[in-house]
Amino acid sequence: MPAFDEMNEEGRVRPPYAGVARYLEAARGEELEAKRREAEVLFRRIGVTFAVYTEGGDPERLIPFDVIPRIIARAEWETLRRGLEQRVRALNAFLADVYGPRRILAEGIVPAELVLGNEGYRAVMEGFTPPGGVYTVVSGIDLVRTGPEEFFVLEDNCRVPSGVSYMLENREAMMRLLPNLCAAHRIAPVSHYPEELLETLKSLAPPACQGDPTVVVLTPGPFNSAYYEHSFLSDEMGVELVEGADLFVRDDTVFMRTTAGPRRVDVIYRRIDDEFLDPRAFLPDSMLGVPGLMAAYRAGRVTLANAPGAGIADDKAIYPFVPAMIRFYLSEEPILNNVPTWMCGRDDERAYVLDHLDELVVKLARGSGGYGMLVGPHSTAEQRAEFAARIRERPGDYIAQPTLALSTVPTLSEGGTAARHVDLRPFILFGRDQVRIVPGGLTRVALREGSLVVNSSQGGGTKDTWVLEQDGPPPLQGMVQSMGAGGMTQSLGGMTQTLGDPSGRGRG
């Protein structure tokens, strides 16, 4: 399957990559290899590690960092930015609707049983409006690219998306490792993300808060795989990193235990899952949470970001309906495309999936981290038979999508550079006042040749992502022509219709 390479297109270097191509041509193999080793030492020293579950060996692994950057032209980013904001606004509107009037269910646009029977649905949120009406304060939307102008949303992450610390640390590393290459480009900065995050969180202070809100980051603790990120973000924002046991609730007010006595907390950026937040509201035996937290939340005395129950918006079973949500709530055409998706819970779609296992990607509707996934074209007959059996047994648990030819970017590998598949996770901040998106995101790269699985738990690495402030030489001819006065929206909106089934229900 020929994939679109973001640097080399039909023997020519695409303009945004001109500087990098020149550097790669001049650099000798040892130099790049030395940079790679230097980067590893750097990350290990800072302590940027990632705990990998269900594996033996070193529990604190580094995610491999590839020194060749992934570049997005300004015009490309502008489209992505608008598409991301649009999508997050629709997802948030969807959450406000399903925990409120349920118009979209009443009109049959999204099947009620998919929402109300969803394990991500939180009845405790019914009839309650979170501060500012914002549920998805921080979201990470996974994008993949298949061509010069073809971007698809692969997955929405509205619960506790992680990875933003890599976006920031990767840039720091690049500026130390390859300062000249960085200086030769006008790269949009990302280092203000923590400030934007803090502003966003403060803007959502609860009604009972007076004065400057006290913000904290709530972590499950040092054994969580993303603990480094939790501590990094709290450090960068200058707020306390708390565990459940550091907080307590009195008179529906949340306090943290300090050496100077109890101190009131107004906004909690929680990095623990819904079920563990409050043993009185969810799992009774959770040791990670804070008893009484949900009562304080519903009393308007503390803000939780993201809101509990936001997970139904990013559920893979709900995903096919996002384009319809955008039309329903915003009366706009989706700027970013969905990947066509077959839901195995439906008889006709399941029949199609079972017939085409060798060409589809099959995923658990509620899986994450690349676990429990079948990549058809790379699978053996045995694996397909096993998946077929699993799908027949629990059809509702599986969805399938076409195997996309993810774009590639040159990546350091043994004996030089080679094309490797990438995706992109930008982070979207939704405040009371505005939506903020730092230009860039986390580029994940599948380091194994031909592999389409970019998850760090499956041998994926990361790259620094450059959004160029100024594109220098003009980008692709076609794009320049369609850029006049909203032309981009239309041409990309049109693409949605040709590429994906607008109803989002896939081909049956």
Partner: protein
């Protein structure tokens, strides 16, 4: 500051200090053992060191009688010993990692690099002829951590709690080492070569031999050794010097909170008072073991009291 953060900083300080102290004690013991060991003091030396680290009973239960190799392994790389060098560094890093944001980069790197290096070495690196070199490395890491704290940390509550742990641990260590060598300081202990070696070993094990010479400019006498290690505020490892700093920190913390942490401060003040209220001569008349026992016990109670006051929250 979060109580949990204060707790981690306190224990970070304690464990880094303890690792250095164990190594210091080990090198002093090695030196003693390599001197002529009169009247079979070799085993006694190691048993004394195990006693000073508070792990003698645990060791005996697992391995029986103390041997030089056994004790050295137990105190360096044995993960079953919660006070071995490796356990201390592990615990220090665990605490440091939990409060990563309260530390400076230099402090974190002092702890983290130590841990990374320690994970790379095999058992042979801390045995035989390489043991002294290993101990030197451990001491240098503890000193690096203290230096990094001194030079880079804001003088805020984070500093105070880390320092509190360091000082409490250090006072405890000096008192315990002295208690372990009590016979050499007993009334009528002769100034023979064996006892002289004990006094010297005692001073070495808290890096105070040179300080003794600078301060007193005379040959080693037990009363002077005791005076230096218990009462002299000039020496940073004397019990008095440690409690002075503990007192200072506790009074700042109390002011800070606008709350009198009475029990805690009273205990610390009493401990400091006990160290300076005796004349060295009286201590040499048989009062030393009781005083040391009192200090070790009081130190434990002070630790508990600080925990109740500030850390558990």
């Amino acid at each position: 500051m979060l109580s949990r953060t204060a707790d981690s900083l306190f224990w970070l300080g304690r464990y880094m200090e303890r690792a250095g102290n164990v190594a210091r004690g080990l090198n002093a013991a090695l030196r003693m053992a390599s001197l002529a060991a009169p009247r079979g003091t070799e085993v006694a030396e190691w048993e004394g060191l195990l006693g000073a680290t508070g792990t003698a009973a645990h060791y005996a239960q697992l391995y029986g009688e103390a041997t030089p190799d056994g004790a050295a392994r137990w105190l360096t790389l044995d993960t079953l010993n919660p006070s071995s060098v490796i356990s201390c560094f592990e615990a220090a890093r665990r605490n440091a990692r939990a409060v990563r944001t309260a530390l400076t980069v230099d402090m974190w790197e002092a702890v983290n690099d130590t841990w990374i290096d320690l994970r790379k070495i095999g058992p042979e690196a801390a045995g035989g002829d390489r043991l002294m070199g290993f101990n030197d490395w451990v001491m240098s890491r503890a000193v690096l951590f203290n230096g990094a704290s001194m030079d880079t940390m804001l003088r805020d509550d984070a500093w105070r709690f880390a320092r509190l742990g360091t000082m409490l641990e250090r006072a405890d260590n000096t008192a315990r080492l002295l208690a372990a060598r009590a016979p050499a300081f007993a009334p009528g202990a002769e100034a023979d070569a064996a006892n002289h070696a004990q006094w010297q070993g005692m001073l070495r094990s808290v890096s105070a031999l040179r300080a003794y010479q600078h301060l007193f400019r005379e040959r080693l006498r037990p009363a002077r050794v005791v005076e230096l290690l218990l009462m002299r505020p000039e020496h940073p490892r004397s019990v008095t010097a440690c409690y002075e700093e503990v007192n200072d920190i506790l009074s700042v913390l109390a002011m800070h909170d606008g709350e009198d942490r009475v029990a805690c401060r009273r205990l610390a003040a009493a401990l400091r008072g006990r160290c300076v209220s005796h004349s060295p001569a009286r201590l040499m008349d048989g009062g030393l073991p009781d005083l040391l026992a009192e200090i070790i016990d009081g130190n434990g109670r002070l630790g508990t009291s600080i925990g109740k006051c500030f850390l558990i929250g």
